[in-house]
């Protein structure tokens, strides 16, 4: 479908980590998925607040349309602090947008936005070093944290999602709340499409997420009869009493709180991909040394 009149995709004023603020945007975006050689205008004018999930979503949507041969225009935010935040996060650099009059200054509280096309060891090093220097987390603990959380989520994207954009990752530290926030977003086939051929009893996106978090559930395990499928289980198990975790996959919304209680909902409009948002309590991961696991079990 070729459309020359610009199509507006408006980002909400509160572009935080809450998916429910993005429902009308998702609906509008999903209608543009088949457009090629068109003009897409991302209206960011009203953004007053943006968080890792918001910057990932904006970047992934822009990248998707550039990938499909569309001309992308961005109407900048009126809020100078949001503009500066996007600049410092490397958002404009990611899309080669020149910003002549403002100087970018990488922030100690966040890691520059990054799109990955595969597991990247240098990026893992950078995140661990950032956690070490700016999150006041001992390097060994930071590396372990990256292994158990981020690496598992990234492997999940590249093992299962078939995402044409790879994945976007964004991270931020909130010193006052002693919290780290990591967001990993892909535009892949989603958990239901990945699991359904092997687990035909799964009926919807929420069930697919519930299933994916169970130990040993993996399309590759069923396909290859191999030992696969503990990545999301491990993140979920590790974060109990150490943080919280949200997964959005198409219409499925799944959230595990600090105590491990799970809430699920069906969204009225799908996010055509999967997003894993991790919220890690900085203090509680400092006891990562006390995991009390006996390797061989009983």
């Amino acid at each position: 479908m070729i459309i020359h009149t610009p199509i507006f995709l408006k980002f909400p004023s509160q572009s935080g980590n809450d998916i429910f603020h993005y429902i009308s945007l998702l609906s509008e975006f999903n209608e543009t998925l088949n457009i090629t050689n068109g003009n897409i205008l991302f209206d960011c004018e009203d953004i007053q607040f943006i968080r890792p999930f918001g910057i990932n979503l904006l970047s992934a949507m822009i990248f998707y349309h550039l990938q499909h041969g569309n001309k992308v225009l961005i109407k900048g935010t009126k809020d100078s602090s949001v503009h500066k935040y996007l600049l410092d996060q490397g958002f404009f650099q990611e899309f080669n947008i020149e910003q002549e009059h403002v100087t970018s200054m990488p922030r100690s509280t966040s890691v520059a936005l990054r799109r990955l096309e595969g597991v990247d060891g240098t990026y893992l090093d950078n995140i661990a070093n950032w956690l070490n220097f700016n999150g006041d987390i001992p390097l060994r603990v930071a590396q372990d944290l990256v292994s158990i959380s981020l690496l598992e989520a990234i492997n999940n994207v590249f093992d299962h999602s078939q995402s044409s954009i790879g994945c976007y990752i964004s991270a931020q530290a909130y010193h006052k709340q002693n919290q780290l926030s990591l967001s990993i977003l892909d535009f892949g086939i989603g958990l239901l499409n990945s699991l359904k051929p092997f687990y035909p009893d799964i009926e919807d996106d929420v069930e697919a997420i519930n299933k994916a978090v169970l130990e040993g559930v993996s399309s590759k395990r069923k396909l290859e009869k191999r030992v696969r499928g503990v990545g999301l289980t491990n993140i979920s198990g590790f974060l109990k009493n150490r943080g919280s975790m949200g997964i959005i996959s198409y219409k499925g919304y799944w959230f595990q709180n600090h105590e491990g209680t799970i809430n699920t909902r069906m969204l009225s409009c799908p996010l055509k991909g999967t997003c894993v948002n991790l919220y890690i309590d900085k203090q509680s991961i400092l006891d990562i040394s006390d995991m009390g696991e006996e390797v061989w079990g009983e």
Binding site: V119, I148, E215, V227, N234, E293, G297
Partner: protein, 111 residues
């Protein structure tokens, strides 16, 4: 006893299934001859569950646990490594049990 320094075999980033498969092949070549192995994780910065699944989970499918307990030793395992390894072993035991019960259920014709 054969010492295996993982950092020298795989590198300091054991991120995926393929790295684990490479290690599995080497471990299997020793264990199949009854040679004990000491796995040294010193210097490994990142390791994933996919790596542990491929390297050690797959060993569980091939060998009995008492044999592995006796022949496979670990050195410099971090607590995170212990966490991920124990989860892989637990899953592998489950996969093995399932495949054993599938096998015992199968009729001669379906085998």
């Amino acid at each position: 006893m054969q010492d295996l320094k993982i950092k020298e075999i795989v590198g300091d980033k054991c991120t995926g299934y393929n790295e684990g498969k490479r290690l599995f092949t080497i471990l299997d070549s020793f264990l199949s001859k009854g040679i004990s192995v000491n796995v040294d994780m010193d210097g490994v910065v990142f390791a994933s569950s996919s790596f542990f699944n491929a390297a050690f989970g797959e060993l569980i499918l091939k060998y009995d646990i008492p044999f592995l307990r006796e022949r496979l030793k670990f050195d410099k395992l971090s607590n995170k490594d212990k966490f991920l390894l124990s989860k892989s072993i637990s899953l592998a035991k489950k996969v093995k049990e399932e495949s054993t019960s599938d096998f015992s259920k199968a009729t001669p014709a379906s085998i």
